[in-house]
């Protein structure tokens, strides 16, 4: 915490908001009058509205730093100044060389601090207002600890802290109701091109393979929610992977609810195959698509974050998870406020092992499966009848609030890593158990 040195006695207590009957009155004026492009934004019939932000969310927005506006009372009229600032605990800290602000802070004056953000295209906007008292702070130890550098060159500036006694924030919510651009629910094929009829037909073809060839077994299936959206994250293996087909078939069979599988865009470009994938629940992996499925439609979405890095690895790297993507899908789950459920799949690495691969660059290459070496190119379509076990892990939930339009990249990376490490740990456990059984 800050070491705050207050010079002078607290004055102007009559302006304190502590006794105000409306606790978040301070946040009201800016947003109610907020115009985009000089004209009122329709909010009453927009399906959106004004959202009152929780204290934690206000602090998070303040924590992003940047430039805010500080308003201090003067004899003539309230003065307002833009400052770059950081949040330190419960204090907004900024630097100033200006006499007006220095005097106010020396006298411990009350002040208001405001930050906001707008998107004129989306017609979304937020603002946060902190009310408190100014104080001089001793700069010595904070100078290097706080990431607060003066933007104006060559001015010797002092540190000033505003205690956050009151905090309020508002957000103009964007339109969130379902668009009439989408097909009505229950149409076949649905909006994504998934057809329940095609799915049933595929199920009849896949089921014997699922049951007798791979003897697919599940554990921890109760971890997949019966209702509401969830992002299912699994490991990907096999030069011509069957894991998506089997996992989707298994979940739909056991839970009786559809699963959408995110796939590489390149597959959509293939004639017929792209359409067949879409009819079977395949959706091009794009964070917007994931968000719509998870948040607006509350569906189950299966993703293999390793992507082609998983399917092109050689047998030597089996059950060693490749690097995940940029975390776009974990971020989509965060934004949608749905859990991430890791699924460790054991067996797919042995059903089509690739001893070698033709390297393209450092990370990918064309894998040559053992079957192709033994039987020629057509062999690449035959999987060994390995028993496949899918182990569903407990859902990973995030401590980030849902519905934000921006998440700190560090949080997304950390969450992605948590998902990845729990999946890797489960894979290590599974494979050693399997070895014991076979030995």
């Amino acid at each position: 915490m800050l070491q705050v040195t207050t010079h002078g006695s607290p004055t102007g207590s009559e302006t304190s908001r502590g006794t105000s009957p409306e606790p978040d009155r301070a946040g009201e004026p800016p947003l109610d009058d907020l115009d985009v492009g000089g004209h009122a934004v329709p909010t009453s019939d927009s399906g959106g509205g004004v959202e009152v932000l929780a204290r934690a969310e206000c602090l998070r927005l303040l924590g992003l730093g940047g430039v805010g506006r500080i308003s201090v009372p003067t004899v003539a009229a309230p003065a307002i100044r833009p400052v770059n600032f950081v949040l330190d605990g419960e204090h907004v800290v900024f630097r100033t060389g200006e006499t007006l602000l220095r005097t106010a802070s020396r006298q411990g004056r009350p002040a208001e601090f405001e930050i906001d953000g707008t998107s004129p295209i989306d017609h979304t906007a937020w603002s946060v207002i902190a009310t408190g008292r100014l104080a001089d702070v001793t700069p010595d130890e904070h100078e290097y600890r706080l990431p607060l550098r003066p933007w104006a060159p060559g001015v010797k500036q002092r540190f000033v802290a505003l205690s956050i006694d009151q905090l309020s924030g508002r957000r103009l919510a964007p339109v969130t109701r379902a668009s009439r651009a989408v097909a009505p629910a229950g149409s076949d094929p649905d909006d994504w091109g998934r057809s329940a009829a095609v799915r049933r037909a595929t199920g009849r073809l896949v089921n014997p393979v699922y049951r007798w060839w791979f003897r697919f077994s599940w554990s921890g299936l109760a971890n997949i929610p019966r209702h509401g959206g969830a992002l299912l994250v699994a490991n990907h293996a096999g030069a011509l992977p069957v894991d998506a087909m089997l996992t989707m078939h298994g979940i739909e069979k056991k839970l009786g609810r559809p699963v959408y599988g995110l796939h590489h865009r390149g597959l959509r470009e293939l004639p017929y195959l792209g359409t067949i994938l879409a009819r079977n629940g395949g959706v091009v992996a794009h964070p917007d698509n994931a968000l719509r499925l998870l948040r607006d439609e509350q569906q189950l979405v299966l993703v293999f974050p390793e992507g082609t890095k998983g399917t092109t690895k050689t047998y030597r790297d089996r059950y060693r998870l490749a690097r995940f993507g940029r975390g776009g899908f974990v971020e989509a789950a965060m934004r949608a406020g749905v859990p991430v459920v890791p699924i460790a799949i054991a067996g797919t690495e042995e059903s089509m092992p690739s001893p070698v691969r033709i390297p393209i660059d450092g990370e990918t290459g064309i894998p040559i499966p053992l079957q192709a070496l033994l039987l020629g190119p057509l062999g690449a379509f035959i999987h060994f009848p390995v028993k496949i076990e899918a182990h569903v892990l407990p859902p990973v939930v995030f401590d980030q609030p849902a519905g934000l339009d921006h998440y700190p990249p560090s949080e997304v990376a950390a969450a992605t890593e948590r998902v990845r490490s729990s999946l890797q740990a489960a894979l290590n456990g599974r494979t050693s158990a399997r070895r014991k059984v076979s030995a």
Partner: protein, 294 residues
């Protein structure tokens, strides 16, 4: 609302003509088309004391789609000149600004980042919309709205897909192995949407399309046409050459649309209180020959 003095551009084309016809009731309308040339539009705006500009001439649909960036620059300059009486500027753009590609999101939103390749229709639209945005940013007293209209269909089809549905070929081209979702908008609904935006003094960018989406195969069925599978999409140079010699080959954008489709999220415009009278499905069935070949 009555008493507006409106300048409508692009009235040599069906969309502009429909807007001008619609506005004639209760409004003073100045209509200009291609032949006017847009050179003197600034003087025209001053002389006629125009308060609303509906720029329906951004996209020329016939005989081939082109984007009139220069006209848009002139309109923007006319609206922003000092002492101008203009208060509302509504620009009819197109959802063709969104990519029809395998990695595009399934539903396009107004806030999406756009990076079209050079020379395409989308690139022209991005450039033109850029001028309109600068106009809005530099003139906070103006209400500037951009309406991205879906493929214009109905009884007077203008959009490339609607023209295929209505067109004179015996069979409807479709790319083999693909069945994309498409979205259509009735021409009169488009005119009504532009009027609505002017009346409500809307600001910002909005997608406008008929309700729902439909698969290309279903659209062909509704229009009572058989599809003719084209094995591959044609390279762009071939399409351009074919156009030049008058062969109706698919242009690159249409062949992309017939593979991956293009559907825009219309929730934002719906929230302003506008409901199109014809859905995408109805627009496709409007292309059925029996409706106009009587």
């Amino acid at each position: 609302m009555s008493g507006r003095r409106t300048l409508v551009t692009g009235t040599d084309q069906p969309l502009g003509a429909a807007v001008a016809t619609r506005l004639r009731l209760g409004n003073e309308v100045v209509a200009i088309g291609e032949e006017f040339g847009y050179d003197d539009v600034a003087d025209l705006v001053m002389d006629e004391q125009i308060d609303t500009i509906i720029h329906a001439g951004l996209v020329r649909w016939c005989p081939q789609i082109s984007v009139d960036v220069i006209a848009t620059m002139r309109i923007a300059a006319a609206a922003s000149q000092p002492a101008s009486t203009v208060r509302n500027v509504i620009v009819a753009s197109s959802t063709m600004i969104y990519p029809a590609s395998s990695d595009a999101p399934r539903l396009h939103r107004e806030s999406q980042e756009l990076e079209p390749s050079g020379g395409s229709v989308a690139a022209g639209l991005v450039e033109a919309e850029g001028y309109v945005r600068s106009l809005a940013e530099a003139n906070s007293h103006l209400c500037v709205a951009i309406l991205r209209l879906a493929d214009l269909g109905g009884l007077r089809p203008q959009g490339p897909l609607s023209r295929l549905l209505r067109g004179g070929f015996p069979a409807l081209p479709a790319i083999a192995g693909f069945d994309p979702p498409v979205q259509l908008l009735d021409l009169d609904d488009a005119a009504a949407a532009l009027d609505h935006a002017a009346e409500r003094s809307l600001t910002g960018v909005y997608n406008v399309a008929g309700d729902g989406q439909l698969w290309w195969s279903a659209a062909a069925r509704l229009a009572s046409r058989r599809t003719f599978p084209v094995a591959v999409s044609t390279p762009s140079w071939m399409g351009l050459f074919a156009h030049r010699i008058g062969v109706p080959l698919l242009d690159p954008d249409t062949s992309d649309t017939l593979r991956f489709g293009r559907v825009a999220d219309t929730a934002k415009f719906e929230a302003t209180g506008f409901t199109p009278t014809r859905s995408s499905t109805q627009c496709a069935s409007d292309a059925r020959p029996s409706r106009y070949n009587k």
